[in-house]
């Protein structure tokens, strides 16, 4: 049998496939994105896979499919579950019929996120069972198990991954197809499915009864929770997820209770384990989630006094935590401390750069949002002042305006096209209806670019694929009541500047749509080529653009890296001395 080297996300997709899933929905977000990408990339598949405009819609589509008696999956990053929490908290009351698995991909260490919330808490909050794989094989194998639990107990089921599981590759043995035996079809049952108070009061006790049944199931689920007694029972470690791998790496001899079912916990099994070891530890990434449950059950256990509650774990942190020391082997040499940092940056030719160059020049307060353009905060542009979550820019601009009135600084909200579709529209309705004067700039690069150019309802990509219709941003914002609408090319600095200044003068809501496809998508050959001529004084004005293609030469003038340059022409516009020469491609 052939093993394949798969990421956790590829293996989750493979496991979903093996489970006979029919409907797959999500909104892209690192580290979850590739789960749906892999299913969408399958040819001749009978799986319906879509990118929804946000995670709430994604989960609602998945719930609708499950209630129709087919297996469905919603996949999202950890903060996406916040957006989907509303349907989640009541889908637990209605139950599912066809299996429903919600994949939450958490990001300890915040490799590509605004926080590192521990979504195991959602399992307890919603009374929903949660499975937690620790490598790609388990990612694949736990999917059919998750669907079986979902159908057996009539509940949504979480599968929680983390960045190190989703984005690690390990060898995977192909699994077998384990389809559902639920018959597709929608059964009308208002008492169970229409959650008006009188019906919901009848369902909540059922949720609690189900949780008791799941607790019993956890004790018997030997393929999910297992004790590895090892050769040394002086130390017993309760762990799971990627932390299990670090524990096995660091102490191969130790007794380990591996939790594949993160919630609810098998407390009898934990009691048996505790009785068989001298000292009991919990090794878990982020929150003391298991530790608190285990302590509450009356067991004497050590956890977060030895292991951090912030950031990712690592074999080193597990080792030093168990030893009670904090020695780092082979610590960094002096010179490393002086190395210049290398943060991520906007790509050469990025259309966002033109907008941020203008905002930086005008010195405006910029309410920011989530996407590649979050990098507008980085020097030298340094043109972002707040960033909280998807869609937060416009509401925060409104709040500042209403709080400070005439004393409010000149400001704009910037939001990407995909983010505006995700959760910006309602904030714009608020601004218009409540007589806000906020200037919103929609950075429309025709894709959800940061996560790999996924389609959204405002991009032409998906519409071409499906025959669906694309949402037109200008019609949309005019429909919401915005009368001051500007469309600009972000490669034209003067045009952007004029539009921003005009919008700021307007005593009403304004929207500027800065339209140009992501430079990584747009393969059109440039009309003009740019090079630095003899007039360069080395003043550095162009370098304020923060373009990676521009740098000082040893002679103190600027050079353009011909490999990196995409010939967007911003540097020529920024130059006060006409020192950057433009020539037509045909010349």
């Amino acid at each position: 049998m052939k093993y394949r080297l798969l990421t956790g996300n590829e293996a989750i997709a493979s496991g979903a496939h093996n489970s006979g899933v029919k409907v797959v929905v999500g909104y892209p977000g690192t580290p979850s994105t590739e789960i749906i990408e892999h299913i969408r990339a399958e040819r001749d598949s009978d799986i319906y896979a879509e990118w929804a405009p946000n995670e709430k819609v994604a989960l609602e589509v998945a719930v609708g499919a499950a209630l129709s008696g087919v297996r469905s999956m919603a996949a999202m990053k950890h903060v996406g579950v916040n957006v989907a929490a509303d349907p989640l908290m009541t889908a637990t009351y209605t139950g599912v019929r066809g299996g429903l698995v919600i994949v939450t991909a958490d990001d300890p260490g915040m490799h590509s996120s605004q926080n590192e919330q521990d979504n195991r808490n959602y399992a307890r909050f919603a009374r929903v069972p949660m499975l937690e794989p620790s490598d790609s094989q388990e990612c694949q194998d736990m999917m059919p198990q998750a669907f079986e639990i979902s159908e057996k107990f009539d509940t949504p089921v979480f599968l929680r991954s983390t960045t190190r599981v989703s984005h690690s590759k390990s060898l995977v043995h192909p699994g077998e197809s384990v389809p559902s035996d639920v018959a597709p079809g929608f059964d009308r049952n208002p008492q169970k499915l229409v959650m008006i108070p009188v019906h919901a009061r009848g369902r909540h006790p059922q949720v609690q009864r189900r949780l008791q049944e799941l607790r019993q199931f956890a004790e018997e689920a030997e393929d999910l929770n297992r004790i590895e007694w090892g050769s040394d029972q002086s130390v017993g470690i309760i762990t799971g997820g990627i932390a299990y791998q670090y524990v096995r790496e660091v102490c191969p001899e130790a007794a380990v209770l591996k939790l594949g079912l993160s919630y609810p916990l098998p407390l009898q099994m934990i009691g048996e384990f505790a009785a068989g070891v001298d000292e009991l530890y919990v090794v878990e990434e982020l929150d003391p989630f298991w530790e608190m449950e285990i302590r509450a059950a009356g067991f004497d256990v050590q956890g977060k006094e030895r292991f951090p509650v912030v950031g990712e774990l690592s074999p080193t942190l597990v080792r030093t935590g168990l030893q009670g020391t904090t020695d780092e082997p082979n610590s960094a040499p002096d010179s490393e401390e002086q190395l210049p940092v290398r943060p991520p940056i906007l790509c050469p030719g990025c259309p966002h750069r033109g907008v941020f160059a203008v905002l930086s020049e005008l010195g405006l307060v910029v309410k920011g949002d989530i996407g590649c353009y979050s990098l507008g905060v980085m020097p030298p542009l340094s043109a972002m002042d707040t960033l909280t979550c998807m869609g937060a820019s416009m509401g925060q601009a409104m709040g500042m305006e209403k709080a400070l009135g005439d004393r409010a600084p000149d400001s704009v909200a910037v939001i990407g096209d995909s983010t505006f579709m995700h959760s910006g529209m309602t904030a714009l309705a608020d601004i218009v209806y409540n007589n806000g004067h906020v200037t919103t700039i929609i950075l429309d690069n025709d894709a959800t670019a940061m996560t790999g150019h996924q389609a959204h309802p405002g991009s032409g990509l998906r519409a071409r694929e499906t025959g669906g219709r694309r949402v037109d941003f200008e019609q949309l914002v005019r429909g919401l009541g915005v009368q001051d609408v500007h469309r600009v090319d972000p490669y034209d600095l003067q045009q952007v500047k004029d539009a921003v200044q005009a919008a700021l003068e307007t005593d009403a809501a304004s929207v500027i749509i800065a339209e140009r496809p992501c430079v990584l998508l747009d393969r059109t050959p440039p009309e003009h080529h740019y090079s630095v001529g003899d007039d360069c004084t080395g003043c550095g004005l162009c370098l304020h653009l923060g373009c990676p293609a521009l740098s000082y030469t040893d002679g103190g003038t600027v050079r353009i890296d011909p490999v990196l340059c995409t010939h967007c022409g911003l540097c020529a516009q920024a130059c006060s001395f006409d020192a950057i020469e433009r020539r037509s491609e045909s010349q």
Partner: protein, 204 residues
């Protein structure tokens, strides 16, 4: 290729700048490791960090079972850096008998390009203080000599292959498998050129 240059390479850390092709290179290394009959794990970085930031990817193999997908500091047999300064940033991964193999190409950060800070000097000397074997490879020039600057990564993989006890054919197969068919020949030559550079460097 001399037998004394070869070592058992189990834990490799590959670093560089987002967009340099690090994921592809570590995929090749992982596939070569699988061909040796070992269990293999690798870790990758996706998302925001890929946008021109500092990037690391780890590959591990064991006869038996690899648990952690991460190499611990002080435990890498080889640190392969696609950029000069990044080699030093991650040098603490290598054990003192390990090898730092790096591309001498300098990619400035924005602050360096703007003239606010200088590109650090003395990288090779700093690396030599930490590690017995330091191999600077001018992969860009080697690739340019072959007529295709895009095969610099293959030059570096060729150099890496010379350090391992894994037959060159396994590496060549894994590389050719991952490049367009039309680029097969130039990648073969780049691989051989990289191995020859490593051999020369080990001899001095």
């Amino acid at each position: 290729m001399t037998a004394r240059d070869r070592m058992q390479v189990n834990d490799v850390v590959v670093v560089g700048v987002g967009g340099q092709g690090i994921l592809l290179a570590t995929d090749v290394i992982a596939n070569v490791f699988i061909a040796t009959g070992c269990d293999v794990k690798k870790s990758e970085v996706h998302g925001m960090a890929q946008r021109g930031g500092s990037v690391e990817s780890h590959v591990r193999r064991r006869h038996g079972c690899v648990h952690s997908p991460l190499v611990s500091p002080g435990c890498a047999d080889v640190l392969l850096s696609f950029e000069r300064m990044e080699a030093l940033r991650y040098a603490n991964y290598v054990h003192s008998d390990g090898v730092v193999l790096y591309n001498t190409q300098k990619i400035p950060t924005l602050a360096i390009a703007n003239g606010e800070v200088r590109y650090p000097s003395g990288i090779e000397q700093s690396l030599r203080k930490r590690c017995r074997t330091v191999l600077p490879v001018n992969a860009m020039d080697v690739a340019a000599d072959l007529g295709n600057p895009r095969v610099a990564n293959t030059v570096l993989l060729g150099a890496l292959s010379h350090l391992t006890d894994i037959p060159a054919e396994r590496w060549e197969e894994a590389i050719v498998d991952r490049v367009p068919r039309s680029a097969g020949e130039v990648n073969r030559r780049a691989f051989a050129a990289g191995a020859a550079v490593a051999k020369d460097l080990m001899a001095t």
